[in-house]
Each structure stands twice: as C-alpha cells, then as structure tokens.
C-alpha cells in the first residue's frame, strides 16, 4: 500500500524562514526585550546577559537562544483528569479546543451577548466534555458572580469539576498560580505526578512589542518549575503594535516567543514550551482586531511553520469569527480558520465557540464548530489507498447494471471514508421544510440541551471535590469573598 499523503499547508519559503529567523535573533541581541519581572531579570543576569535593571531591558545572545532551544522538548504529552488518555503534542498532530477567554456568553434564548455566571461556566465545561472533536477543554469564559480577583482560579475550578479533558488556562494575577497549581496537584495526587502527567497548559502573552509583564513572566517561571507546559501567546497587531507587513510581524512574533522560551528554560532546563500566538491583522478602518481576517490566519499559519522549523510544539488561536451572532460570517470565518489550522499542522488549535473578537462564547457555536473540527480532521487524514488494486477488482464484472451500493466493498469502506455530521443540513428541501425549516443555530440550540441531558457530567470523586472546593474557598476568602456561588453537584 502507498503511504497516505498528509495534506499540508506551508506559506513560507525556506529562504524567507531563514531571513525571519536571522532578524528575530538580531533584535533579541541588539534591541533586546523588556521584562518587568525581577526574578526573570536575575535569571538573565546569572546567564551572563546584558541587563539594564533600570529600563528592564535585556539583550539576549544568540547562543543562549540556541541553548534554550535545544533544551526545550520538541514534543510533549498531556493527559486527561484520570491520567489515562494521553494526547501527543508535536509533529503535525492536531487537537482542537474552545477559544478563550470570552467576557460574555451569547444567550441561547435572546442570541444577544450578556455577562456569564457560574451556571454558564458549568454548561460550557460540561458541553466541551461531550463534544468528540474537541480534545481539550479551556477555561474559556469569565464568571461575573465571583470577585474579579479570583476569576482565573474559579474558571479552572469549574473546568476541573465538569470536564475530564485536559485544560488550556492561565493566570490573571501572580498569586493565582498558587491555587491553580494546587488544584491540579490535588487531581494528580502529587506535584511529581502532575509534572509527569501534565493536565493543564498555561497561556502567557507578551505585550507587543517585545515586552513581558511581571505577571506573564512570572507565569512562565512558575509553570516551568511545576512542569506545566507554557503556551507562548505573542499577539502583535499589524501596523499598530507590530510591523504592518505580515513578514515584519512574524519577525517580532519569533523574537517575542523566543524570549519567553528562554525565560522558561532559565527557570527550569527542559521545561515544556509551546510555540503559540494570537496575532491579528489590525483593521485600520475600524481600529479593531479581526480574528476572522484571512491575513490573521496567514500570520498564524506562517508562525506555525516557523515554530516547526524550530522543532517545537505549536499552538494557534484559529477557527474563530468576529461575527456577533451565528450567521454566515460566523460559519465561514470559523471554517476557513479551522481548515487552514489543521492543514498547517497546528498542535493545539484554540477557537471553537468564539465570536466577536474573542469577546463572546456561544454554546450553539461550540456545537457547530465541533462539526467543523470533525471536517478538518477528516481533511488531514488524507486520501488513503485502502485496497490493492484500488478499484480494478470492482470493475472485474463491469456491466450496464453495475451497482456499487450493494457491493461488500462499499459496506466495508464507506464509514471509514466519510464523516456523518449531525447538525449540518443534508436533507432534501421538502424534508427540511417538514422538519420545521430550522437554521443550523436552531438545530444547534436543541443539540446543546440534548447533549447535556443525555450525558451527565463525570465529576471527580467526593474527596477530590471537597479538596478543590477548599482551595477555591480559601483563595476567594483571601480576596474578600466570604462564600462561593452554589454549585449543584448532583
């Protein structure tokens, strides 16, 4: 059998890759980066780099970048809550997860954005757990019924309770790391077990251009030491916070991510790092940051190629839309993004459910996007040679009335060759009418309820629930919140 060809998208020539790399290294060495974190500055000082403590500017020598790159694992594994199912991040493996972090939810009834509360976060985590093409969950919505001070740990708390899937998350405050880490350790049983079988990925975003805030640098350091993979989320905005050209933004992207990678390796040699991002092509008319723009997706696909060139696991925010409701724009921007991301071989693709410049999460969209992700997976599975010969045997007795429907060959392969989406409309017109002329959003709304009812959430054991709650409550109390919203644990 001929080996199945993996369809692949590459936007950059080797020559351009080399040029981008050279310029990124040059910026790191000559202009340097700003790092507003004492501990990170000390680490650079110890590594013999030129550090200006006053301006907090660090010049990073190419040799240190090289050493850090060779210390970084080219792939990693993360595990679900039970520690049983493992997911490989590396090569061209693709895993989709919901985008984050939305500050509103699209209300199922009114189809308008509103603030989310605990019950929304629960439904979101539970639903993500039910959707087969989302391999991971994310802490993708902020809950407004808890203090903003604990919104980072609270979303992780809910996610760990209501979904077994590995989780993409991150801190909003330096102290957030401690309770979030403790929760993860409780699930795994020990710090050592957690480091061996990571359950969560922590996102950390540099502030373009070329700056790591105190919070994000600390997240890199803390995660590295705990064995938690850090996802480096460089997020230039073309012509606003990064160069106007796509190639120019890629130079900055590489420089920012590499500086983050060096921080991780200085904190703990061998720390797992994912080369990610959320750059956008800034809209010069509206002054907005369209995630559904084709140019945004081009930057994403290209930096993924650069990440692979550096032999690193990759991540991208793709498969999202700037539409405000689940309309045609919502679908096509998401579809194009998800397909391009899969073709680019991005290891972690965060985006499902997202609308409105990553402001809004929609459960209906999450269900629709699950099917888009299913299509993308099918695409990258490629076209296989199933038999040898491919078709000659089928035509052996070729006649005018040859019928493929009844051939054993058809029964053998049609389920392997095709996917069978649940929501996508493939009915003849009259049947569609007889089913009530429902749009995909209406069907998705029904499917959300259907999935949640049919699949009760699989919660951690009672003891773990109790300990998680204690950690969350202690964090809340330290931040002026005497009690937590009531959660129905069935």
């Amino acid at each position: 059998m001929i080996k199945t060809f993996r369809p692949k998208l590459e936007l950059l020539s080797n020559e351009l890759i080399q040029k981008i790399m050279d310029e990124a290294y040059s910026i790191l060495e000559n202009q340097g980066v700003f790092i507003e974190n004492e501990e990170a500055l000390d680490l650079f000082q110890e590594a013999g780099m030129k550090v200006d403590p006053h301006s907090q500017r660090v010049h990073i020598a190419p040799q240190l970048v090289e050493n850090s790159l060779s210390a970084t694992p080219p792939s990693l594994k993360i595990y679900d809550r039970d520690g049983e199912t493992e997911y490989f991040l590396g090569g061209d493996e693709v895993h989709f997860d919901p985008g984050s972090v939305a500050v509103t939810i699209l209300d199922s009834e009114t189809q308008q954005e509103r603030k989310a509360v605990t019950s929304d976060l629960i439904r979101f985590a539970h639903l993500a757990d039910c959707l087969e093409h989302l391999h991971f969950q994310s802490t993708g919505i902020l809950s407004t019924d808890v203090s903003e001070m604990v919104s980072d740990s609270y979303r992780l708390y809910i996610g760990l309770l209501f979904s077994k899937k590995p989780i993409v998350t991150g801190t909003f405050r330096i102290e957030g790391f401690e309770s979030m880490h403790r929760m993860l350790v409780v699930i795994r049983g020990s710090e050592k077990n957690l480091a061996e079988k990571p359950l969560a990925i922590f996102d950390a975003c540099p502030s373009p251009p070329l700056k790591w805030s105190n919070l994000t640098a600390q997240s890199l350091i803390d995660s590295a030491r705990a064995g938690i993979p850090s996802e480096l989320i460089s997020m230039g905005m073309t012509g606003a916070t990064s160069p106007a050209t796509i190639a120019g933004t890629l130079v900055q992207h590489v420089a920012e991510n590499l500086s983050g990678l060096v921080i991780c390796q200085l904190a703990k040699k061998g720390a797992p790092v994912i080369f990610g991002g959320c750059p956008v092509s800034f809209d010069m008319r509206a002054g907005t940051t369209p995630i559904g723009a084709i140019e945004t997706m081009m930057i994403d696909s290209a930096y993924t190629q650069l990440g692979k060139h550096l032999n690193l696991p990759t991540h991208s925010y793709m498969g999202m839309s700037d539409a405000k409701v689940n309309d045609a724009q919502g679908g096509f921007e998401t579809g194009i993004g998800a397909v391009l991301a899969a073709l680019s071989g991005v290891n972690v693709i965060s985006g499902a459910g997202i609308l409105d410049f990553i402001r809004c999460q929609s459960l209906e969209k999450l269900v629709i996007d699950n099917e888009i992700c299913g299509m993308a997976y099918r695409l990258i599975d490629g076209i296989a040679q199933r038999d040898n010969p491919i078709a000659l045997d089928l035509f052996k007795d070729f006649a005018a009335d040859t019928q493929f429907l009844v051939m054993p060959h058809t029964r053998k392969w049609y389920k392997e060759e095709n996917t069978f989406p649940k929501l996508i409309d493939r009915d003849p017109y009259d049947i569609w009418v007889s089913k009530g002329r429902k749009s995909i959003t209406a069907r998705a709304k029904e499917e959300v309820e259907n999935l949640l009812q049919k699949n009760p959430p699989v919660l951690p054991d009672k003891e773990t629930q109790k300990t998680l709650r204690e950690i969350m409550l202690s964090d809340a109390r330290k931040n002026g919140m005497p009690s937590l919203p009531k959660i129905d644990l069935h």
């Binding site: 500050v103 919104s151 606003a240 008319r285």
Partner: protein
Amino acid sequence: MNNEKFLNTVKKAILEGNKDDAVQLAQRAITEKMDLNKVIENGYIPGIQKVGQFWEEGEYFLPELITSAECMKAAMKIMQPELEKAQIDIRSEGTIVIGTIEGDIHDIGKNLVASILSANGFDVVDLGADVKLETFIEKAKEVNANLICLSALLTTTMTGQKKLIELLKKEGLYGRFKVMVGGAPVNQKWADDIGADGYSENALTAVGAAKKLVEK
C-alpha cells in the same frame, strides 16, 4: 509666499501627514512674525478638520488619521511658547488626564484616543501605561482637569476603573473630574454600572463624548 498660499501649504502638510513640513512651517510663521492665531485658525485647524472629513468619508484610515494628529501636535508644540509670550489664548476644549491602569501595559488604544483628542483641541496629559490609580487623581488635581480617561485592555485591570471611581467618591472628588472609560472589554453597561460619566467605543467617538462631558 503670499498669505493664502502659505496657509494652503500648512493645510496640505497636516492633510498629508508631513511632520517635517508641519513643524518647519510653524517655525517659519514664528520667524516671519505672522499672526499665529490666524495661522492656526486658518491653516492648521482647517487641515485637521479636512482629515476628519476624509476619515468620515472612508478616504482615510487610522494610519493617516494618527499621522496627521501627530503633525498637528508637533506644530502646536513649536508655537505654544510664542502663543504664551504673546498672551494669545488658543481656546482649549478642556484638559484631560489619560492613562492605562496599573497592571496593564497595553496602550495602543489609549495612545489613539490621546492623539485624536489632542488633535481636536484638548489639552491632553498622557500618563502612559501601568499607571497607579492615585497618580490619575494627583495629576487631575494638579492640572485642574475636566476629565479623566481610563483605558483597560485586560478584564483584570478593568476593575481598576471601578476602583478609581470609588477612590474619587472617597476623596469627595466624584463629579469634579468627569470620568470616561474605554478599552476592549469595556462597554456602556459596565460604564453605567460603575458610575462612570462617559464611555467611548473608539478613538473617534471619544472626541464627541469628551466634548459633551466637558460642556456638562
């Protein structure tokens, strides 16, 4: 160069966003002892107004808009000492203290707003990014500001907007300085909830919103 022609050159420099020309023409107006008030009223201001018009019509995008605003600022900076010497009082739309809240080092949105407000005749004191709440209030008192503009890009620093208003209330300054909020996660409802006087979705609407608040 006759007067009309000179004013047209000024207008053109602003419209095309040519900073060197905008500054040199201001310098020349000073050296040649022209009536600076007239140069501004009939040269620079019509220039920036035309920029605004081009923006409205969809001819200009943000880079043109901001570049022209920056030219205007640079030229005004050259002329300011002369205007003060001659005791010419260029009518200010009001004084604004602006900055991005502590913990937030994103300042692209705030920079746009500051630049556009300044080009539209406001005296803008830009405190930069990662600014302590107390600093906003101290500065507002010092320059007797009409308005404090608070930007936040992060959902976490957004709460600083609420805290600033609480701080103003505590110090009995709520109402003395109007507060306008903005930033990606911010909306009108949030502004209403925290008791902010105004909200602006983007840099352009900020001008109208600021004028309204200052008039009140």
